[in-house]
């Protein structure tokens, strides 16, 4: 924003407002906030604020509103769409210190948490009561509930359990105007317009969640997890169609293809049937009697699907090993290439095979490798496009391929994003999903929450100055040797 005060003045005023300990001013820590999980983009904020209380967040947002200074809320920075990319000259409000579980009520099966609470920590706190928090993005050991709410995070179990939005019962938030609102509550039912449903997935454009009420579910008594290897991707796709047509409702249906299998093998020593182009993972869960009955049907379907091999997990350890391979696939693929970008477009399930064939052909054409790991049950692709940022046009070719994939998703009647959000990365593709009148509607709604456009500007909507692209894809902390993608 051209009218923003200069960084030194911003830092001085915020230090006076919040006390110096809530302000991260040293250069080294600031560098860590230049990027998020989408490392191709970086921007230097004027200041990073690390509030200790909700009141400090509110005071900061109100200060930003008064001074027209843009702010970006951030949790652990795992966004794959650049959702937490700073605004140059704006401030970053990092919420990791707001990491208290304020209330855990096993009788009502709810948890009230601050935005900096890590996703997995909710399940860990609920576990002694036989409960868990269902949404399980692959980054769940580090990603925060605040970020999950902002981007309506998904995971491997969305077909049956839905996304973050389906598990948020209530929230308190400070909007970009400084107004503090409460939507929903402790009840699982609602009356009136679903304000909470509108807030979840706002990509940080409405404001910052301060307290989130989550529903907890009883942990399934029994799991049956099967890994089936197929000679061709198409056969794996056909097996998914057969499972869906059978009337079964598995907790998860995932596919990993060759390159991802190689990567997972190298990274976590996962073992897959040899000679397979694709591996299918299907998980049934529920009361043991139900799983036993459903398992018979699943076994018959898989046996008829011409697999190279079917490996049911014989115990909890084998089940965890299957999931470890699947969930490590992203970071594992990162080891195969200096740089990669991940897309998460959605296609109608029946067109999965066709979509994957096209992606394969286009990758060959572009001279890029592309690893596919995806939530097959809901048609949510996750092509990881590998490139070398040191090559002069590496990133450009990767982005071109990504764009072709996104256009294909929309042409097939799907979406440009299933769970990562639009962020900065796909903002130029939003118009292929929504014509101008509908984009304008989204803009009007955004302006109702944030008339000044100071909350996470430059995300979701097209136009505006392009942020600086870096051609080395390493996260600043990776460059500094502090973290690695493992």
């Amino acid at each position: 924003m051209s009218g923003s005060p200069d960084p030194a003045r911003i830092r001085a005023e915020l230090a006076a407002l919040l006390g110096p300990s809530s302000l991260l001013a040293d250069e080294a820590p600031l560098a860590a906030y230049e990027s998020d999980g989408l490392t191709a983009f970086a921007a230097r904020p004027a200041a990073v604020i690390a509030p200790r209380t909700a009141d400090e967040v509110i005071a900061t947002v109100r200060w930003c509103h008064r001074h027209g200074v843009p702010f970006v809320a951030r949790g652990s920075g795992t966004s794959l769409s650049g959702g937490a990319l700073p605004v140059s000259g704006g401030i970053v409000i990092t919420l990791n210190r707001l990491n208290r579980i304020l209330r855990l009520d096993p009788a009502e099966r709810i948890a009230v948490v601050e935005p900096g609470v890590v996703n997995l920590a909710v399940t860990q706190a609920a576990q002694p009561h036989g409960l868990h928090y269902a949404p399980d993005p692959s980054s769940q050991p580090v990603c925060t509930i605040g970020g999950n709410v902002a981007f309506n995070a998904g995971g491997a179990h969305c077909l049956k359990y839905g996304m973050t939005s389906n598990h948020v019962l209530g929230l308190k938030a400070v909007l970009a105007t400084g107004e503090v609102v409460e939507f929903g509550g402790a009840s699982r039912e609602q009356v009136g317009p679903d304000w909470m449903g509108l807030f979840v997935g706002n990509e940080g454009l409405f404001g910052i969640a301060l307290e989130v009420t989550l529903q907890l579910l009883p942990r399934a008594e029994c799991f049956h997890t099967v890994l089936a290897g197929y000679a061709t991707l198409e056969q794996a796709g056909d097996a998914v169609a057969a499972v869906i047509a059978s009337g079964l409702l598995p907790g998860a249906i995932e596919i990993m293809e060759q390159l991802a299998l190689q990567a997972a093998t190298a990274a976590v020593h996962a073992e897959y049937p040899p000679g397979c182009e694709a591996v299918l993972i299907v998980e049934l869960e529920g009361p043991r009697e139900v799983v036993a009955a459903d398992r018979l049907r699943l076994d018959a379907i898989l046996a008829a699907s011409r697999p190279v091999e079917v490996r049911p997990a014989r115990d909890g350890a084998e089940r965890l090993a299957i999931w470890k391979g699947r969930k490590s696939a992203f970071s594992a693929v990162g080891r195969l290439s200096p740089d990669f970008i991940v897309q998460d477009g959605v296609v109608p399930r029946r067109r999965l095979g066709e979509a994957l064939r096209r992606i394969q052909a286009w990758s060959r054409e572009a001279g890029l490798r592309c690893a596919n790991v995806f939530h097959a049950g809901d048609g949510n692709l996750h092509p990881l496009i590998l490139y070398d940022g040191r090559e002069p046009d590496g990133l450009r070719r990767a982005e071109e391929l990504a764009g072709r994939i996104l256009r294909m998703c929309v042409e097939m009647g799907g979406s440009i994003t299933g769970e990562h959000g639009v962020g900065v990365e796909k903002r130029d593709y939003l118009p292929i999903m929504f014509p101008p009148e509908e984009l304008d509607l989204l803009r009007r709604v955004r302006a109702a929450f944030d008339p000044a456009g100071i909350a996470n500007p430059g995300k979701m909507f097209p136009a505006g100055a392009a942020p600086a692209l870096t051609h080395t894809g390493l996260h600043p902390l990776e460059r500094a040797g502090v973290i690695a993608r493992e």
């Binding site: 996304m163 529920g286 399930r349 799907g414 979406s415 994003t417 959000g421």
Partner: protein, 351 residues
Amino acid sequence: MSPTTPEELAAAVRALPRVLPVGAGTKARLAAVAPGVTPVSTRALRGIVEYEPDEFTFTARAGTPLAELAAVLAERGQYLPFDPPLATAGATLGGTVAAGLSGPGRWRFGGVRDFILGARFVDGEGRLLRVGGKVVKNAAGFDLPKFFVGSAGCCGVLAELTFKVFPRPAATRTLRLTARDAADQVRLLRVCAGGRWELDALEAAVDEPAVFVRLGAEEAALGPLVAELLGRFPGRELVTAEAAELWTTVTGFGWAHPGGALAKVLLTSGEVPAFVTWVRAQAGARAWIGAGGNAGYVSLPPARPVAVSPWAGALLRGNGPRWLGPRRTAAVMAAVKRALDPAGRFPDFED
């Protein structure tokens, strides 16, 4: 006015200064037309536009009767798992969304808000706009389809809706469990909700301390689950006809006073005893507890208004304000209303 296409609907809205969308009128309070307001009926705006059983999705016009939808879905072994209420009375898909009403099946996988994927609607300026998507998973743009759930026609007229569906369980069984009193009912509701059984529905009566549970799965799995529940809790299994009658009564509010007020209030299971006491203090009141103790429904004889509610709620039938109990207002709510309906064609939230 009863337009037959989304485009006609948009034209009708543009032609009228003040509009109230109405469906079949089964939630009569939502269809109560204030002076100077023209009702626009979705009666003729009906039919399934697209049904993709393999994708678990369908798109239908807002005026499509739920019963018609259910029949088509059933042919492919699928259903809307939240048992949208008042289907036999003629309720429409659009009215279900506008009222934000879910039936007993919402217990297992969530309510109407959890299954809506997309919508086409006419905004206050008469534009036909699409929000959300047509696939089961979509995170592009704000989740406006959810916002329309419970919006009672205040922000636009729904023209077309896309929903997620699920495979229907092969078989269901229904149990009536007996509690000693309302406090014991809470204990039962909580034990059932927290158990390993993955109940399909969990409801409770108010005139007697009974808890009703429904299980849905393969037939072979249900026997042992039913036996275990009946071994742990006093009660009995309802025979098929009894169970069918119970669920028809619950989803159709058959227990409510014909012609009387009907309201929904939001509870948590711990508030069930207070709800029972509140109901009993109102002469002639009848009530039902839904969603494992998260929703209370109360009905009064004709011409008798519902008492001031300690809980947030909505009036579905009868005269009185649309909302009950404590209300939250915020500047942003008025701002969103203005964004969707700048000229005030549709009712205010607080009408």
